[in-house]
Amino acid sequence: MSVAYSVIAVLGTLVVAFIVSLLLPGIERKFIHARIQQRIGPPITSPGIMAPIKFFFKQTINPNSPMPRLYNALPLISLLVVTVLLLFLIPQMYFVGALASVIAIIGFLKVEEVMYMFMGSLSRSVLSVRMPFPDIVKGAKHPETPRRFLEELSTLRAFRLIAFGSFPVYIALFVSVAVTGSIFLSDIVAYQQLHGPILFTVAGALGAVVFFIGYMILLNEYPFGILKAKADVIEGPYMEYAAKYRAYNYLTRGFLMFVLASLFATLFLGIAPNILNPNFIITIIVALLFPMLMAVMSAFSPIFTYKQFYPTVAAVSILGVLAIVAASL
């Protein structure tokens, strides 16, 4: 009985999460961006649901890549990683022990980030070096220089982001560890059910701000979207994905938005994503609220280059350290 119950809970949660995550890009675009820009905007189903479905029905082409099979497999891997991440947030899965801990979550997020590097280094889009244009001509500057694809540039950036960009989110994760004194999700949730959500303490509030910035950096949303800044690398690592692989990318992004939000709900509000718990509605609200806030931020800011990026990350990280200090006092 209880096993069946758990299976229903896990599957149900995944399905609901999936459905909600499909709506997020549309909500972001229609209700926030379009409202701020004073236009009507697309229907909410278009960017999140209809676009992936459309891509499923497109012709699958061979991407221009030294390893096309691997390149095409990457979006599936990252979708899988995100799903597994959500899986271990669900209370019924806490029996897996070490996998349902903050350390494991950090590991999964790392994998997610490393994906960008692989994607970038495997993509060879037509828009830069391969553009058939006589570049090396009489009088051209530096004709001997090695030539780089735009995607390699974004690989370089992904590498930088792995090195420093994800600090805020990790520090924020450790705020709740510092408060509860345990890295296991089950303990963190149990602690908050006893003492009330961490969010409403000083440390928790600071941690939430840090988490939110980290959330934006992980999702590469403007202003932190230097990895896929339209002004130079166009779409960065995703450049060569077409048809259903592009659809997986769309889905992964929406899903990651939901998963990170439910991670927040778990760590800072003590509400683990579980469809059988009426509090699940709060997870959904958080999942809707975060993209909205993010969209407001991105609509009002230009893209950050490193000159703005480093100080922001440094400042936010210091805030996070302060939060941890406040938590352990």
Partner: protein, 375 residues
């Protein structure tokens, strides 16, 4: 500062961008030579857009050639047709009626408005600020509607003809009223936008101190127009043009020569344009708008310079049997390419795109006579 820029030339790789690129919009090719992510050298290839307008103009009747010059550029089309008319009118001794001169000025200033607003929108887009870009396109729509109302077409309005302006472009009471209302609206909207733009700390931190062109370099690289004025040189050809004599306006200059001064420069110039249009509307003299009593004759090679939204535009041709001979056109963007390449150096790649855009490139104008030989 200048010497530092030249000194270090470790070039690791080349990153080519274009000819289709969201930041460029127009077909041109930028090759950035980078060390890590810092640009050490840049090369802008133009000539992709070369359509041979001057060659097509060779031997065309001058009236036809005039309307062809308009098709050189979809942004400053009125400047081209106006200057082309001036090139023929001067040696032929055609008196342009005063009212026609005023209407030409109105068209030119409206065009400056829409060109500058477009520039700002494109700049915001490259900055990554979609909201500002959309806002500016929305503001620009007011100007486009006015232009469409006067000329009958939103882009190529073809206002000037030899000896005046086209009858379609006559300004009656209703149109004058609309222009007046439009100017009020524009002033209000641009002011509101400028306030928000200047007080936005994120935008400001992106654009201050980026892409600096010092005054010395600007003169050395022979920049023209707003790009030159943004470095503090007070040089505006409108001051010397007799067409602009009746109007009072300030020549805006900025001191720093970075992207911020370039952008603010254009914002401020918008207000000057509004000022000029208001004066022109107020003092619009009565009378005919076309002078049709002139004789065609052969003329020697005549040069004509005017100030257009991007700088100094040069047209020259001779007339033979009423046909155009030896046409040469030089557009301001050509002069500014050096500055674009120079400004990129020493900046992050994302900023480098901004440095190119800051000089307000219009490569469709520029591309007419460059040959690329493959080795």
């Amino acid at each position: 500062m200048d010497d530092n820029k030249e000194k270090r030339t470790v070039i690791e790789a080349e990153i080519p961008m274009g000819t289709v690129h969201p930041a460029a919009l127009e077909p041109y090719r930028v090759r950035l030579f980078v060390e890590d992510e810092i640009v050490r050298d840049a090369e802008i290839t133009v000539g992709i857009n070369h359509r041979g307008v001057e060659r097509i103009m060779e031997g065309l009747p001058v009236e036809k050639a005039n309307s062809l010059t308009e098709k050189i550029c979809g942004i400053c089309s009125n400047s081209h047709i106006w200057n082309s008319c001036l090139t023929a009118e001067k040696p032929l001794g055609i008196e342009v009626p005063e009212r026609a001169g005023y209407i030409r000025i109105i068209m030119e200033e409206l065009e400056r408005l829409h060109s500058h607003l477009l520039y700002l929108a494109h700049g915001s887009e490259v900055l990554g600020h979609e909201t500002f870009a959309m806002r500016l396109f929305y503001i620009r729509e007011t100007v486009m509607e006015l232009l469409g109302m006067i000329g009958g077409n939103r882009v190529h309005y073809g206002a000037s003809i030899l000896g005046g302006v086209r009858p379609r472009c006559e300004l009656d009471e209703m149109r004058i009223q609309q222009i007046k209302n439009g100017m009020d609206l524009l002033e209000e909207k641009i002011t509101a936008f400028a306030d928000r733009f200047v007080s936005d700390p994120l935008v400001m931190s992106r654009i201050t101190g980026v892409g600096v062109i010092s005054q010395k370099d600007a003169l050395r690289l022979a920049c023209t127009g707003p790009t030159l004025r943004a470095t503090g040189v007070e040089k505006d050809l409108r001051r010397d043009m007799e067409e602009y004599d009746p109007f009072e306006f300030d020549v805006i200059t900025q001191d720093d020569g970075d992207v911020k001064s370039q952008l603010l420069m254009r914002v401020m110039e918008n207000f000057e344009s509004i000022k000029i249009i208001r004066q022109a509307i107020r003092d619009l003299p009565p009378g005919p708008i076309t002078n049709r009593s002139w004789e065609m004759k052969d003329t020697p090679l005549t040069k004509s310079y005017i100030e257009v939204p991007r700088g100094t535009l040069y047209h020259s041709y001779a007339l033979e049997d009423g046909r155009v001979r030896n046409c040469v056109i030089r557009t301001p963007s050509m002069a500014n390419i050096g500055a674009m390449q120079y400004a990129c150096i020493g900046h992050h790649i994302t900023d480098a795109q901004l440095c190119v855009v800051q000089c307000d490139p219009c490569f469709t104008c520029t591309d007419r006579a460059i040959q690329i030989i493959e080795i």
